[in-house]
Symmetry: D2
Subunit: 141 residues, 4 copies
């Protein structure tokens, strides 16, 4: 876990978490009844939000983090600083392996932020959450 | 195939196809080098666009249609009229089965529009493209 | 829908459906509680069976048809004649779009068999279930 | 990283890696041209093998680890000891995040084995590879 080094960073990440809470309100999760929200901070300061969207076939379901990411990428963004994730029914809820992999496509140097069980922010980097990651660098050129 | 019944519809669908062409410019497809764009028309007239976004693991890749759909759903939209799809390297390119399934979550009564090999619009409904569809109605309550 | 042209074919497909029923017993579906079984008939007569296997993240879930298919492919099989699918809680339950797409990788000339609501076999070809299919032929060479 | 504690374990894991190498021969990877094999050791000693199987839509592609896992689960197996993974074109190639998540469904206490760049075995547990894992325990009951 990283320490929050500056007051600014803490302020920014709190706002990101609040954006994720708000994004979860649009969740389409009739099967799991487990709404999730995410907010992705791009390098230039713009925030993209997402929620989980389920599919009756189970597979095909898209998590909140990936919804936020595809929104950002489809608008030309490729560099990101941090992503906050909020599961309304579970504190200390980190991204699933599928989202970790998809986020890794755009860099492992990403802060991942969740709300801890004690109400404080918890932060880990994507490289901590996906050690020995497979990624664009793994494929032969 | 459906006939375009009114001039208005044709105008709208042409614009939708143009939006899909433009959306394909943001495609992140370094592995397939097969850029795709989509534009989804919501019931109230708003258009959401998307592109394909690939993952070095192949699985996890998100098609243009699903990118557009999750953008719309994450902003509270649930009802759609039509989706246009453009593959820059292939005419007459219809959505894959995965996208057909995911789109079906929000209704089979959707016009799907592609550019035909002769330059004209081709239209099929999602119910024609995914006959005998599994969907929310299939699950026991 | 195709007519069953010979008594032999009907016998074979009945057995395939029975194998799918048996395969569903191994289903891992704690989230949907919707067990599914499949049986895939290879060109040389060998039958591969599969069940649905769910993931707590919803996405990542693998349907019965894809389980059967990857078993067959991983043992060197590439050519298939028919696949039978049985949903224990739903008659007349056809493969989802994701499975249709994955099966299409190995040819659209595949008979898909389900148990109809009246107890008889229903058969459609994969090319009927996935018209205008995207597939290996769609990619530029 | 864990130390190999006994000569027996090392022998077993070497054999598992050899089974993965052999399994990669069946790989269907015409798009990535990146064949992968996996071998999964069940608690009772049985070994299930798998290879990666690609889909022209990119999404839908199934990695070698998941192929091996669905084979095992569809035959009634639920408890596993270790999985070996071999990428023919890349040493020190660990499972992707999607596979880590899917394997986690059946327990994080799993040894994951790859061939290191120096020819020796490298071992990590799944709980090391997917820290703070989302899993069956995360969902409300």
């Amino acid at each position: 876990m990283q320490e929050l080094t500056t007051k600014d960073k803490q302020e920014t990440y709190k706002k990101l978490l609040e954006a994720a809470v708000k994004a979860a309100e649009q969740s389409y999760s009739p099967y799991s009844k487990f709404p999730v929200g995410a907010a992705l901070l791009a390098k230039d300061g713009r925030i993209f939000t997402g929620c989980n969207i389920e599919c009756s076939t189970w597979d095909g379901t898209t998590c909140a983090e990936r919804t936020a990411l595809v929104k950002a990428v489809s608008e030309g963004y490729r560099e990101f600083v941090a992503v906050a994730v909020v599961c309304k029914k579970l504190k200390d809820c980190w991204p699933c392996g599928i989202c970790r992999q998809f986020l890794a496509e755009f860099g492992l140097n990403l802060d991942v932020i969740v709300e801890g069980t004690d109400g404080t922010l918890s932060i880990m980097t994507l490289s901590e959450l996906l050690p020995q990651a497979f990624g664009p660098h793994s494929l032969p050129r």
